[in-house]
């Protein structure tokens, strides 16, 4: 385990070398956040609140939603899919496979190092700016706790999804378009920009069959205390269910992929 933590540490360290990128990234995030908040203010400001499938939503809640969703997108963003593509296309994956380590666990911890870096150098500054400029609702301790659990589950779901799509490089020449596809699906079905509250019923039903809302919308609705305790239980069970399903799918794909792996060159 120490070895895997070392991977996280190393990624963290090598990212420190590119601090200028971080600065630009923070600016970009903050700009997006301002746009989002302005849009919501324009929509909601006349009435002060807006009626939805889930009851009344206030401007303050919508602003909190925007800050949170920006925060989550900072934490989960990764390039696992493209990394997979690159490693398989170049055959560099061979160099990972000659080492006594579990490849997925290695990727996971590399990701963790990345996440940690982004939490410290992107998430915290952006959230601080967001709170200072707009303010944010805070949940009760209990809801905060469940929010954290749901958030971590959501991150795991996202990670396995990217692994699955990345692994398709065993069969496909390129997968960057799948990376785009995943991002588009997330934009529509996860509640990243527009909460599912505002969507038509049929849309909510479709999204209920997909894992994407469990990454953004569900943890945030816990944070905003829009769900009951029973519904929280329901969300956590669904998340764990999806983690299991995706994990099994991922394992099967990996086994099949490794068997058909042809390492090019050298």
């Amino acid at each position: 385990m120490i070895c895997y933590l070392q991977f996280a540490k190393n990624v963290f360290q090598s990212k420190l070398a590119y601090r200028m990128n971080v600065f630009l990234s923070i600016l970009h995030r903050i700009a997006t956040l301002f746009v989002e908040v302005s849009i919501w203010s324009a929509i909601i400001s006349q009435t002060g609140e807006i009626s939805t499938e889930m009851g009344m939503i206030s401007l303050k809640e919508m602003v909190s939603y925007a800050i949170l969703s920006t925060g989550i997108s900072i934490i989960i963003s990764s390039n696992t899919i493209l990394e997979f593509e690159d490693k398989i296309r170049t055959g560099q994956i061979a160099m990972d496979l000659i080492k006594p380590m579990k490849f997925k666990l290695y990727l996971f911890f590399e990701n963790l190092g990345n996440n940690l870096f982004r939490i410290i150098f992107e998430l915290i500054p952006v959230v601080i700016v967001g709170i200072l400029c707009f303010g944010i609702d805070t949940p009760s301790r209990e809801y905060a706790f469940f929010f954290l659990i749901a958030l971590i589950n959501g991150m795991i779901i996202y990670f396995i999804l990217t692994c699955i799509l990345g692994q398709l490089s065993f069969w496909l020449l390129t997968v960057w378009h799948l990376d785009k596809l995943l991002n588009d699906m997330l934009k529509i079905f996860s509640g990243r920009f527009i909460p599912l509250w505002f969507f038509p019923k049929i849309f909510i039903i479709i999204s209920a069959f997909l894992p994407f809302r469990l990454i953004y919308f569900s943890p945030m609705s816990i944070y905003l205390e829009k769900v009951s305790k029973i519904e929280i239980g329901n969300i956590l069970i669904q998340q764990i269910g999806w983690i299991l399903i995706l994990f099994i799918l991922d394992t099967i794909l990996w086994k099949k992929g490794i068997n058909k792996l042809v390492v090019q060159g050298g």
């Binding site: 360290q13 000659i98 496909l172 050298g266």
Partner: protein, 333 residues
């Protein structure tokens, strides 16, 4: 007791046009249209602890493919590989602990971080005790001079430096078995020599079993006593290097540069030389070592006039293999 067992090992590549997009992937998973390329074809051998094996063959012979199957990266199409009783692709991680692997064309080090950090990662990965780790680093610095670039990131290293670092990385955990796939490719003579000495030293002091892939005959002559030759995936020879050379490698070429203009070579032909070619002011003489040696030839030239320079081209592995086809050896295994 053999530490590596390979029995009737084959690997076929099913080359199929991979299609783009999800639909393409779906089709690809189920379609049967493909060309089959036999990269390794029914190879068997056994290797004992402490041997250094030269694994020879021309480009595309199947050497790297064999090494990849031994390392557990590629799954064989048929046949058996056993390393210390383990089947590599089924026990990849456990097998990896016994192995050091270097692929000359790739690096196993992390691109963006200094060598020292990469080594420290490996230390944790292989759970190398601190004293052993320190001792190894010290020894590697001494023989390969890695301390010069110990704190430099891999992407900033020259090929020779990178290869030395890779070699160290593969040996930090004192593996019992070392696979080297073209470890000297593209390196200058000095670095080549350093690497050869290092391999020799490790083999002597640790009884490390080495399989060395190369098409540089000099690597083999300096290191290996036993060679396995493959071509187009099939085994051509497995045995002592000397025997191979005696049977096939008796022809050499000597290149002589002289000042005077010699017209008549009849005498040389009579002495047993096979062929003489002119290349500007150089003369290439092909001869059979069984009948005449280089010293005699040079001696003859020196009598004719001033010899500016000469160079003996030893046996070339491609040449040896070409001859194996012309004059196949029976019962060579």
């Amino acid at each position: 007791m053999s530490i590596i067992k390979v029995k009737n090992l084959s690997k076929e590549f099913h080359i199929r046009k991979r299609e783009d997009g999800l639909v393409g992937a779906f089709k690809g998973m189920f379609s049967n249209e493909k060309i089959i390329k036999k990269a390794v074809n029914n190879i068997s051998f056994e290797i004992s602890k402490g041997e250094i094996i030269g694994y020879l063959g021309p480009n595309g012979a199947g050497k790297s493919t064999t090494i990849k199957m031994l390392s557990g990266i590629l799954v064989p199409s048929s046949g058996l590989v056993e390393i210390k009783g383990l089947i590599p692709y089924e026990n990849r991680i456990e097998n990896a602990r016994n192995l050091g692997v270097v692929f000359g064309q790739r690096t196993q080090l992390w691109w963006d971080i200094p060598i020292s950090e990469s080594f420290s990662l490996l230390r944790h990965m292989y759970k190398i005790p601190t004293t052993k780790y320190k001792k190894n680093i010290e020894m590697f610095s001494e023989i390969l001079g890695i301390s010069e670039f110990y704190n430099v990131a891999v992407r900033q290293l020259s090929l020779g430096q990178r290869m030395r670092a890779d070699l160290c990385a593969s040996l930090l955990h004192n593996p019992e078995i070392l696979f080297l796939d073209e470890p000297t490719i593209g390196l200058d003579v000095v670095v080549k020599e350093k690497i050869r000495n290092f391999i020799k030293e490790i083999n002597k002091s640790r009884k490390t079993t080495v399989i060395l892939t190369t098409h540089d005959m000099e690597d083999i002559e300096k290191l290996a006593s036993r060679v396995i030759v493959i071509d187009q995936g099939s085994m051509m020879y497995d045995g002592k290097l000397d025997r191979l050379k005696n049977i096939y490698g008796t022809e050499e070429v000597i290149e002589v540069e002289i000042e005077s203009n010699i017209k008549n070579f009849d005498k040389l032909y009579k002495m047993g030389v096979k062929e003489i070619n002119h290349k500007k002011n150089k003369i290439l003489i092909k001869y059979n070592k069984e009948y005449i040696n280089s010293a005699t030839i040079i001696g003859w030239f020196m009598k004719q006039g001033k010899v500016n320079d000469f160079l003996v081209h030893g046996i070339n592995i491609d040449e040896v293999i070409r001859k194996m086809y012309e004059k196949p050896m029976k019962n060579f295994m």
